[in-house]
């Protein structure tokens, strides 16, 4: 088994070297021709192994155009992929903890990974099988939810920041940071995020607290702040942010930077909208790849994770998904403009002041939920 795996890994590594030379030629070609990032189809297909990996990921969260990741993986390794998607961490967690499904690889978000580790649902990874882990930026390793980085390999990341309309919002007001959401000048034009964790997180960062705080006094102070803000808020929304920002109905809205590609899109979006991350710091979230404890094909699962960390694959995924990539080489391959875009890659010192969510104790969740209901009364 071990030896077989070594052969497999070697194969992938060699292929990768041959692949590296491929995309260079395509760069100069005219735009009309489709860009070939990795011409894996010309490589010999691996013999069928008879193994099928069950992969569980977010919807629209893997490239199937530029490289067509899953097909490439099967072609090159002979391992079939049974790929399924979920809509929320909670749904995914509920399904897996019920034991009703057998998955090998899952890609949940930070706090859910923490919870899964706590409940002994994940297998520690053998990083000898994932040499491409070296490409992952150290900034995204050893985060709170997996402090020694034994269970997960980062896949995408993002931050919460503020979208604002440059036509109506005075650039000088941005210096207020999160306080901008409390600026009476923009009363009725401010949207607020409609879930307690993010709404409290924003307030906590503004007040200089940790967004994983369990201190009830701090949370109460946040509640009072949010109550103060309520008369200024046009609406509490999630995905309605798009419409309202695009139609100039709202001018200021906190949301996830990955959605900039919708809101700020030149044609379908609103080019007047810009994005910034307040200096006080923010929540930054990571979705990472894990192997489930009861997986029967752990080595193949690790090979899959390694495959996802091949620069061409990481690049294709980043391009397709639109979220920021923790993969150094994948990011290098992106357009200069995108690679240095402060929307997708905020300044490092801001990130230093930011935190990932960890799973809070039940009492704290309950307390926050109660305060949230109180706010909406």
């Amino acid at each position: 088994m071990k030896r077989w795996l070594a052969v497999l890994l070697c194969a992938v590594l060699i292929l990768q070297m041959t692949a590296c030379s491929a995309p260079v030629t395509s760069e100069e070609e005219s735009e009309e021709e489709e860009e070939v990032v990795w011409d894996w189809e010309s490589l010999p297909a691996a013999e069928k192994t008879g193994v099928t990996l069950n992969v569980y990921n977010w919807g629209e969260y893997i490239d199937d155009e530029i490289v067509d990741v899953n097909r490439a993986f099967t072609h090159l390794t002979g391992i079939e992929v049974n790929y399924k998607t979920f809509d929320s961490n909670e749904d995914m967690y509920a399904l897996l903890s019920s034991g009703a499904a057998d998955y090998d690889v899952v890609i949940p978000s930070d706090y859910t990974i923490g919870k899964m580790i706590e409940h002994d649902m994940l297998a520690p990874l053998n990083f000898d099988h994932i040499p491409n882990y070296k490409y992952i930026d150290d900034q995204y390793k050893d985060l709170l939810y997996d402090p020694e980085n034994t269970y997960s390999v980062p896949y995408t990341w993002g931050v919460v920041g503020i979208f604002y309309n440059t036509k109506y919002v005075d650039e000088a007001d941005l210096e207020q940071g999160w306080e901008l959401l409390w600026d009476e000048k923009y009363s009725g034009r401010i949207l607020m995020i409609n879930n307690p964790r993010d709404a409290f997180g924003i307030t906590q960062k503004m007040l200089g607290y940790s967004l994983n705080s369990t201190d009830e006094e701090e949370l109460w102070t946040c509640y009072e702040k949010l109550k103060e803000q309520k008369p200024l808020v046009q609406a509490y929304v999630m995905d309605q942010v798009y419409d309202r920002m695009i139609n100039n109905e709202a001018w200021i809205a906190p949301y996830y930077n990955g959605d900039a590609c919708i809101i700020m899109d030149e044609e379908e979006g609103n080019p007047d909208v810009d994005f910034f991350v307040p200096e006080e710091g923010t929540n930054f979230f990571v979705d990472a790849m894990c192997v489930l404890k009861n997986s029967k094909h752990k080595a193949e699962a690790e090979a899959y994770i390694n495959f996802m960390c091949i620069p061409e694959v990481a690049y294709a995924n980043a391009e397709y998904i639109g979220y920021s990539s923790p993969h150094t080489a994948g990011r290098e391959m992106q357009d200069e403009e995108l690679r240095n875009d402060p929307v997708y890659y905020p300044k490092e010192d801001v990130l230093d002041r930011s935190e990932v969510y960890i799973t809070l104790p039940e009492e704290t969740n309950q307390y926050v939920a109660d305060l949230w209901l109180k706010l909406k009364r």
């Binding site: 409609n194 609406a235 139609n247 109905e249 969740n365 926050v368 939920a369 209901l373 909406k376």
Partner: protein
């Protein structure tokens, strides 16, 4: 013969048992037990923010204001629907049979569309850059700020539930014969008297049915206040939903709230039945 017809109800009986009786029993169970399955009144007390150790209620922390708010919006919706539906239903019932058929079809037409879609449409109509504001903008008015207010919620509710008011009214009014009205007129009644002494009493069962069919769903609605009201103030349906999904689910309190809502709605329905003293089969009910 009697036995045979009872048996015909069996499929519905089974359906009812699985999807109505069992869920209600589960709601009761969750409402009156704690996490360990022990009997408790804590969930119900929490709704009223009743502190047993002090023996007092913290109104500020209770859900009473949310319940009253939902009842108030439901009441407004019902009254407005009735005002719009009553004259319309009467005029349809006086038209020729073909016109009646077409009109009833038109009333039902919006119900063919998913109510979420319809609510989204209302949202775009009422929004600042929406059609309504564009239209009144032509005359130099506006823009009106309707979206994200209670008015928007009520407009949305009336739009969604109006057919449920029109149809029962129409089905009762269509049975009021021309001869009854003519008889009243022959006996010297003016238009107002005809309405008050003949049409109104004969349409009471329809009014009551309509009220029930509009009031109950509007009080317990959810999502509409999120879409049209800007989610600033939750209706009771939204609160119940938040008790079952999200990061801190609390099925106990959620069930207790559903139970309180059920009791309230039952009481409201009982009140309407009190008004409808007559048990005349001919008059009552939805006959479509």
């Amino acid at each position: 013969m009697k036995k045979k017809t009872t048996a015909l109800a069996a499929p519905f009986g089974i359906w009812m048992a699985i999807f109505t009786i069992v869920p209600i029993a589960m709601v009761l169970w969750f409402a009156f037990t704690d996490a360990n399955g022990q009997f408790t009144l804590a969930n119900v007390q929490e709704i009223f923010a009743f502190d047993p150790s002090k023996g007092e209620t913290l109104w500020e922390d209770s859900f009473v204001s949310t319940i009253l708010y939902s009842l108030w919006l439901g009441f407004l919706t019902t009254v407005i629907s009735l005002i719009i539906a009553y004259p319309l239903a009467f005029s349809i019932s006086r038209a020729t049979e073909r016109v009646q058929l077409t009109m009833v079809m038109l009333v039902m037409l919006p119900m063919w569309m998913n109510f979420l879609l319809r609510t989204q449409a209302i949202k775009s109509l009422l929004s600042e850059s929406g059609l309504l504001n564009q239209f009144i903008g032509l005359f130099g008015f506006g823009p009106l700020e309707i979206l994200n207010t209670d008015a928007a919620i009520v407009i949305g509710l009336v739009y969604d539930f109006l057919p449920y008011m029109i149809l029962p009214l129409y089905s009762v009014m269509v049975k009021i014969g021309k001869s009854e009205i003519e008889a009243a007129q022959d006996l010297g009644a003016n238009t107002f008297s005809v309405f008050r002494r003949v049409v109104l009493p004969l349409s009471v069962p329809g009014i009551l049915n309509g009220i029930t069919m509009v009031f109950v769903p509007s009080v317990s609605t959810f999502v509409i206040s999120t879409l049209l009201g800007g989610s600033k103030r939750m209706m009771i349906g939204d609160v119940i939903e938040s008790m079952f999904v999200g990061e801190a689910p609390n099925m106990g309190v959620g069930s207790a709230l559903s139970l309180v809502l059920m009791v309230l709605i039952f009481l409201c329905m009982a009140c309407t039945r009190l008004v409808d003293k007559s048990d005349d089969y001919e008059k009552g009910g939805l006959t479509l």
